[in-house]
């Protein structure tokens, strides 16, 4: 999202900044790079505000409190609440990991559904054939998707914009068809049944696994988003040609971000497969998994660290309400919501809160 502040003068971009509705130039949408150490001259001359230093502390405290809250949640809440929280955590994992490649570099991945499905199948089959302990199976599922991402990322990340998006869409469908056809290993369209976890203590292990995964991806997002590596990813998003000219090996950076990003949907898929106890290709390779990750990130604020988390909480809770009201209308409402967010809230909730000055403008958000 390119805004229209003074910093734009220094950007060599072929696409003009979109004019806000009504032709009035408003305050720009979030420009995280403008708070970077070497931002625009005007901003660089200002000292960093005090809250910027305190933000790190605030984060640590909030993250610790929320994590502890989530750890003790199962002892206080009923099964439904725990299960719902697990769904929220799953959505955060998917959205935050999507954000690592697409929010940071601007390369729109429709492949997260594919990674989710491959992870689910890897984990489920390892458990089904009793090859390894389930926790190791989840880890292997993540490593599997990372390896696949490295292999397919190398040729596909050289493709620009629309071509990358279409290729990932195609590869996901291809993966679904391969899994469906490979009946001797995957049981094809009949799906895989996993042992049902009757004991509460047993199925809570899924909840905790998802919690660990979520905390990891959030910490990783923060680490990447505030690092020089993250800055280079942002520069690819804003102008890849310029980034290349500055000496950034863009292919390697994109590949690294893609590999990091692909690990989490793989593990999340495996955990979710164990949680639901039954997987089939249609449900686990459905494009909707990618779209949910994307919609969540956009709703919260793509390219930000907190955005996917806020988006996941809001989207899952709203989904739950709509579903309870009228399951038939769910798809229509979900589609309509996406359209509205794209048209009226392109910067997401984070940008909205920043415009209302409820949140500071910082790359740490």
């Amino acid at each position: 999202m390119s805004g229209s502040n003074a910093g734009d003068v220094f950007r060599l971009s072929s696409t003009p900044a979109p004019m806000p509705q009504g032709g009035v130039i408003e305050t720009p949408l979030p420009e995280r790079e403008s708070d970077a150490p070497f931002g625009t001259p005007q901003q660089a001359s200002k000292p960093l505000p005090a809250w910027e230093h305190r933000l790190g502390w605030a984060y640590t405290v909030v993250l610790a409190v929320v994590t502890i809250g989530l750890i003790i949640l199962p002892s206080r809440a009923n099964d439904y609440s725990v299960s719902l929280t697990l769904t929220v955590l799953l959505t955060i994992c998917m959205a935050s990991s999507w954000n690592l490649i697409s929010g940071f570099t601007g390369y729109v991945s429709f492949g997260h559904a594919g990674f989710f499905g491959i992870g689910a199948y890897t984990g489920a089959l390892l458990i089904y054939y009793d090859v390894v302990h389930w926790a190791l199976a989840m880890l292997l599922a993540g490593l599997m998707t990372t390896a696949i991402a490295l292999v397919i990322g190398y040729p596909t990340l050289r493709l620009r914009g629309p071509y990358f998006a279409i290729t990932m869409l195609g590869l996901t469908e291809l993966a679904r068809i391969i899994v469906t056809s490979w009946e001797s290993l995957t049981f094809g369209g009949r799906g895989v049944y996993l042992p049902i976890l009757y004991e509460r203590s047993e199925w809570l292990t899924n909840y905790y696994a998802m919690l660990i995964l979520t905390v990891t991806v959030v910490l990783l997002s923060y680490a990447v988003g505030t690092s020089r590596f993250g800055l280079r990813l942002f520069s690819i998003r804003d102008d890849e040609g310029a980034a290349q000219a500055m000496g950034i090996d863009t292919t390697r950076h994109k590949l690294a971000a893609f590999a990091l990003s692909s690990f989490f949907p793989g593990v999340a898929g495996a955990i979710y497969a164990r949680h639901t106890g039954y997987i089939d290709p249609l449900a686990f390779f459905a494009v909707i998994w990618s779209i949910r990750a994307i919609a969540t990130s956009i709703l919260g604020g793509q390219g930000t660290i907190l955005g996917p988390i806020i988006g996941a909480v809001v989207l899952t809770l709203v989904s739950e309400q709509v579903w309870a009201l009228d399951p038939n209308a769910y798809q229509m409402i979900f589609g309509g919501l996406i359209v509205l967010v794209v048209l009226f809230m392109p910067g997401g909730l984070i940008a909205l809160l920043q415009r209302l000055a409820w949140l500071p403008r910082s790359r740490r958000l």
Partner: protein, 284 residues
């Protein structure tokens, strides 16, 4: 003889694919955005044809142009109020907007028509042509597809407005400087794309069963065709569509129908990785 029959059957199917892909290709050319809702425009065209047939017993061949005109109107509305607002914005906005639209339209169709498979029992059976046993519906569908594709091609080549569309796809800024109303071109292009998708949908309704999610299957094929033929190349895409139709029916004949579904995606990925500009296309 068997093999030849399969090839011909695939070619006939390819004609319908070409019609569907042509609209998507034009929209991409003019606006540089991927219309993920294109399959749903086709689906609505198919259901309109079905509804006209089921409710008032309208002949499908007559319902086809009626549906196309309605879809042209719907296309104009969608472009005017929704798509126009994301033209020139980052890729993600248009991808997500059109995906939201596709989900919305699918949801409406699911509510209105349920997930049941529907079909129009029209032109069933087959005819004997040069010793080949050809399905009548496929033959008629191919003839219509060829006619409409030819008309579209002529329109783009000869008419002033068609030239304006081509100029806009080549270089929108320059076209605007030359006095072309680019916004109007975008509007009409989206309407035309929707109309073409609708005709393809009506033809599909005569050949196959239709269901609310049918668009998802066809959009994958359209991507493969466009990539194979090269973006912006009308003739290339037509050849690509025929090729894909044949490849799919051959895969279904030799291996199985499950694998045949994957052919388009395999083609898509292979071509993009090996030759990103397509076989006939212009380099970006």
């Amino acid at each position: 003889m068997d093999l030849l029959q399969v090839v011909v059957s695939g070619l006939l199917l390819g004609g319908v694919y070409a019609l569907f892909a042509a609209g998507l290709n034009m929209i991409f050319g003019v606006m540089r955005l991927i219309n993920l809702a294109h399959g749903e425009l086709m689906m609505i065209g198919a259901y309109l044809t079905f509804a006209l047939y089921a409710a008032w017993n309208v002949n499908p061949l007559l319902a086809t142009p009626i549906a196309a005109v309605l879809l042209f109107g719907l296309g104009l509305l969608l472009q005017q109020f929704l798509v126009e607002r994301v033209v020139g914005q980052p890729l993600l906005s248009s991808l997500l907007l059109t995906f939201g639209l596709s989900t919305l339209l699918q949801g409406i169709a699911l509510n209105r028509f349920t997930a049941n498979f529907r079909s129009i029992p029209y032109l069933s059976g087959s005819v004997d042509l040069f010793g080949l046993n050809i399905s009548r519906s496929r033959l008629v569908a191919f003839a219509i597809a060829l006619l409409v594709s030819g008309a579209t091609y002529a329109f783009l080549r000869v008419s002033r407005f068609g030239k304006a569309i081509r100029a806009t796809s080549q270089q929108a800024d320059v076209a605007q400087v030359c006095g072309i109303n680019v916004q109007q071109v975008r509007l009409i292009t989206f309407g035309l794309g929707a109309g073409l998708a609708s005709i393809a949908g009506s033809l599909v309704a005569m050949i196959f069963s239709i269901y609310p999610e049918m668009g998802t299957m066809f959009i994958g094929k359209a991507f493969a065709i466009i990539v194979l033929g090269g973006l912006g190349s009308f003739v290339g895409a037509f050849a690509g569509a025929l090729g894909l139709g044949v490849a799919e029916t051959l895969a279904a004949y030799w291996i199985d129908t499950q694998i045949a579904q994957g052919v388009s995606y395999a083609v898509l990925v292979t071509v993009l990785v090996l030759r990103p500009s397509g076989l006939f296309g212009i380099r970006e």
